[in-house]
């Protein structure tokens, strides 16, 4: 497994752990009132699980498993993938913590913009690897 995939997937696992923990607090709070500020935890729960967990997990596996090039760097320009890693995780932190820490709504928008750029950067890094198998 390439190093970038290891970073993507391990960070996704950490996000899954955080997301499951926040989800457990929110669900238990629905059953027995725990005085938890639900509206402030909910965005971080969703952000950690969906973008930080699942999207990042899928990116790590895709970078690892998509068809490789026969000549040159076998997985193409890794720089775009590393940029995606930084943007996605910066975006998750900004978008998830904006409500949690009562920050300006602009923080959340910046986080979402970073996630968008991260997804575009990742798309660019794998685009040419999405191709039929060369059977010759």
């Amino acid at each position: 497994m390439p190093r970038l995939s290891v970073w993507f997937i391990r960070t996704a696992l950490l996000n899954l752990g955080i997301g499951f923990l926040l989800g457990a607090v929110l669900l238990a709070n629905k059953g027995v009132y725990l005085h938890v500020p639900v509206q402030r935890l909910l965005p971080m729960h969703g952000e950690a699980l969906l973008i930080g967990g699942m999207v990042q997990f899928a990116m790590g596996v895709a970078f690892w498993m998509l068809p490789r090039f026969r000549s040159g760097p076998e997985r193409g320009a890794e720089g775009w993938g590393w940029l995606a890693y930084l943007l996605i995780n910066g975006g998750v932190i900004l978008a998830g913590s904006a409500t949690l820490l009562n920050l300006s709504p602009l923080t959340s928008s910046l986080g979402r913009a970073a996630e968008l750029l991260g997804a575009a950067s990742f798309g660019g890094s794998i685009w040419r690897r999405i191709k039929p198998f060369d059977l010759t």
Binding site: M1, P2, R3, S5, V6, I9, R10, L13, L14, L16, G17, G19, F20, L21, G23, A24, V25, L26, L27, A28, K30, G31, V32, L49, L50, M54, F57, V61
Partner: protein, 125 residues
């Protein structure tokens, strides 16, 4: 797949015009629908494929601890079952709050068990 089918069936009930015998506040089950879809189907699909395809943990235990793998499966689905029973009860004021606490603990256990079992298998060549 069972969770996907359940979620899609519940989605029909939530979106449908009021039916005889179905409480009109059925839309409060939106979180149940969402979690059946995202946790019961999507997360479980990811967990299953990762358990199958990730690099070997070791020659003796290629998929890590099988016991922890089965614990993840059992805890996740038991947690979902408690949620599917408890959330309508709480939403319709029929008690059952403790079911949601149990569901929360079971699903948290599942998430942590998956992370613990998968972490050593995420490694470079």
């Amino acid at each position: 797949m069972a969770c996907l089918l359940l979620a899609l069936a519940l989605g029909i009930l939530i979106e449908a015009p009021p039916l005889p015998g179905v409480p009109s506040q059925i839309s409060v089950l939106f979180p149940t629908w969402l979690h059946l879809l995202v946790v019961g189907w999507l997360t479980q699909l990811i967990f299953g494929v990762a358990h199958w395809m990730f690099p070997r943990s070791s020659a003796e235990h290629p998929r890590g601890s099988e016991r922890l793998g089965w614990a993840t499966f059992g805890l996740l689905n038991a947690g979902l079952l408690f949620r599917v029973i408890g959330e309508p009860m709480v939403s319709f004021g029929a008690g059952g709050g403790w079911l949601l606490v149990v569901a929360a603990l079971l699903q948290l256990g599942a998430g942590l068990a998956f992370v613990a079992n998968t972490w050593p298998r995420v490694k470079g060549r």
